[in-house]
């Protein structure tokens, strides 16, 4: 019969229409600003810089090695190195970025900066409501706007952050053990050696745990 196929199709539509009132399966739309779907943990949008502790400037993990700047596919990262040094999470003196800008209007959220970073300093944020009315520089984030605490990182990517923390703790423990071993060796050497001037000289690095 001509029109049978159309009627069958319309029956499907009617089933879906009626079903949307009773079944969650068929009612799939979400009224966005009032209602929100939870983001999956892996979800990523734009990068941010992680800092430990409470002071963002002191705790910034970034050491301005500029690997992410080089590897970034659309080249949206700009870094300037500092002249002086500050201690990092192991206590080792490192340079830090005096300028760290990411132009997120250029960034394509590819996560390559995160993958290449050897210091776990840059991670992906999942905040997506970033619209601004400032055309010029409104989306150019500097290091203060990019800096987010480690607690925030734990909040948005709990599993990943726990892994990173474990890795950093292991590294720190390793560095401490190494520094301790070096200090012990130096002390043993100093005890063995009769010269009076040496102990004070070799004891110095072990205080700041900066010998690697």
């Amino acid at each position: 019969m001509l029109g049978e196929g159309i009627l069958k199709g319309l029956a499907e539509t009617a089933k879906n229409f009626a079903g949307s009132f009773v079944s969650k399966e068929r009612m799939t739309t979400v009224e966005y600003p009032e209602e929100r779907l939870p983001l999956p943990e892996a979800s990523r949008n734009f990068p941010f810089l992680v800092y430990d502790g409470s002071d963002w400037q002191a705790g910034l993990r970034c050491v301005a090695c500029q690997i992410c700047e080089k590897e970034c596919p659309p080249k949206c990262i700009y870094i300037e190195k500092s002249k002086d040094k500050k201690p990092d999470y192991v206590g080792k003196l490192q340079i830090y970025p005096t300028k760290f800008d990411i132009d997120i209007s250029v960034c394509m959220s590819c996560q390559i900066c995160v993958e290449v970073c050897p210091f776990e300093a840059i991670k992906m944020n999942n905040e997506f409501e970033l619209a601004t009315d400032n055309r010029f520089g409104g989306l150019l984030l500097d290091r203060k706007e990019l800096a987010k605490s480690n607690e925030y990182y734990h909040q948005i990517h709990p599993t990943e952050a726990a892994e990173v923390d474990a890795r950093l703790a292991a590294e720190k423990a390793k560095a401490e053990a190494k520094a301790k071993a070096a200090a012990d060796a130096a002390a043993a050497k100093a005890a063995g050696a009769p010269a009076p001037a040496t102990p004070t000289r070799v004891a110095k690095p072990s205080e700041g745990e900066r010998k690697s």
Binding site: L2, G3, E4, G5, I6, K8, G9, E12, T13, N16, T28, P40, E41, A42, S43, R44, I67, E71, C72, P73, M108, S109, C110, Q111, I112, E115, V116, M124
Partner: protein, 390 residues
């Protein structure tokens, strides 16, 4: 390639649709259809010459979305090119990733762990299912069934994109595959979620078919329209569902057995007439075959690493040489040709885009048909302008 089995008995001569002779009264009407026409899937222009309602000449004009893709590759490292490949055919970024990773792996002779191969197959087949679903939805939208079929298709696509997001972090720009494996491992919870989505897919395809396949309007609009002869399809280098709808049995999953496709049992759906309806049916059947592959892959997926520990992420410098990696992307043969000169950047990077090459037969399919059918024929080619223009 002995499986290239052209059914010659249906071919009568060259069979190019005849150019309509005008009777000399009146003039041809030239119409520029696009670039901002809602049916052109982006920015594509067709310069039509019309005799009344019938198409006498069709000149495709593209390049509005040109982004210098191949030249960019020569300035960035191999790894940094991976997210750019997401943006070629942005409906199915994971297959683009795979084709590029395959080319680089061929270039350096990189092995891929077992679990990563399975994950790649699972993601590629999910991509195929969602691409075909949305293609059919768009086709029906262009036919005038505005909204409903597209919404049903997108409802399914959404479930698959949610899977992509929870695994790769992004719904469309996945950037997931790496040279020598995949970036992150899939958790057991993700695999369970994928099994659930795959288990729900056959019901969706059944519903879609009840909804559309027997519909008289769909048949009247699609059957016998936009016929592509198999000899022309082979000569023009058309691949993918377009070629198979013309009855040519050529599927790179069966020909190359790239990845681990030789382990799965699946059939290659073929059309008889090469018209729009056959292309629609081939896509529906391919979703069904993809579901079969997905079920097998999700059942057999082994444990193990997803990344070769010897694979390098940074400081990747292949030895001088060249490689061509190709896969059966949802739209056809997607190939990447790479020449390395030993530096961190490719010396030459070339994409063989299925969308562009399938588009070359557009005029032959459209000549002699009505303007309203041009929209349908164009929709049945299934292109993404990001890949056509690059």
């Amino acid at each position: 390639m002995n499986s290239l089995d052209v059914k010659t008995e249906r071919v009568e001569g060259w069979n190019r649709p005849p150019v309509i002779e005008t009777d000399g009264e009146g003039e041809l009407l030239e119409v520029a259809m696009g670039p901002h026409h809602p049916s052109t899937h982006g920015v594509f222009r067709m310069d039509l010459a019309l005799d009344g309602e019938r198409v006498v000449r069709l000149k495709p004009v593209f390049g509005y979305l040109h982004r210098n893709h191949e030249q960019i590759a020569e300035t960035v490292s191999y790894l940094a090119m991976m997210p750019y490949t997401d943006r070629l055919d942005y409906i199915c970024s994971l297959t683009n990733n795979w084709a590029y990773a395959l080319a680089v792996e061929k270039l350096v002779g990189q092995e891929v762990p077992e679990r990563a191969e399975y994950l790649r197959v699972i993601l590629a087949e999910l991509t195929r299912a969602q691409n075909h679903a949305s293609t059919i939805g768009f086709l029906l939208q262009e036919m005038g069934a505005s909204g409903t079929p597209l919404m049903y298709a997108f409802r399914e696509r959404e479930k698959i994109l949610d899977l992509f997001e929870s695994l790769t972090g992004s719904r469309m720009m996945c950037n997931y595959m790496r040279f020598g494996g995949c970036r992150v491992d899939a958790s057991p919870a993700w695999l369970d979620a994928a099994r659930k989505v795959v288990a729900a897919l056959p019901a969706f395809v059944d519903e879609f078919e009840r909804f559309l396949s027997g519909n008289e309007i769909v048949m009247a609009r699609c059957q016998g329209v936009g016929i592509l002869r198999p000899d022309l399809a082979v000569n023009a280098g058309v691949t993918g569902p377009m070629l198979r709808a013309s009855g040519v049995n050529y599927d790179i999953r069966k020909v190359d057995h790239y990845g681990i496709y030789d382990r799965f049992r699946f059939r290659v759906p073929l059309g008889d007439h090469g018209d729009i309806y056959d292309r629609y049916m081939v896509r529906v059947l391919e979703i069904r075959e993809s579901i079969g592959i997905l079920e097998q892959a999700l059942k057999d997926i082994p444990n193990g690493p997803v990344m070769d520990p010897k694979a390098k992420i940074r400081g990747f410098r292949p030895k001088p040489g060249e490689a061509y990696g190709r896969i059966e992307a949802p739209k056809g043969e997607l190939g990447f040709y790479l020449i390395s000169d030993g530096t961190p950047n490719p010396y030459r990077y070339r994409v063989r885009p299925p969308s562009l090459i399938n588009l070359t037969v557009l005029e032959d399919m459209c000549l002699g048909s009505n303007v309203a059918d041009v929209v349908l024929i164009f929709g049945s080619v299934d292109i993404v302008l990001g890949e056509v223009d690059r």
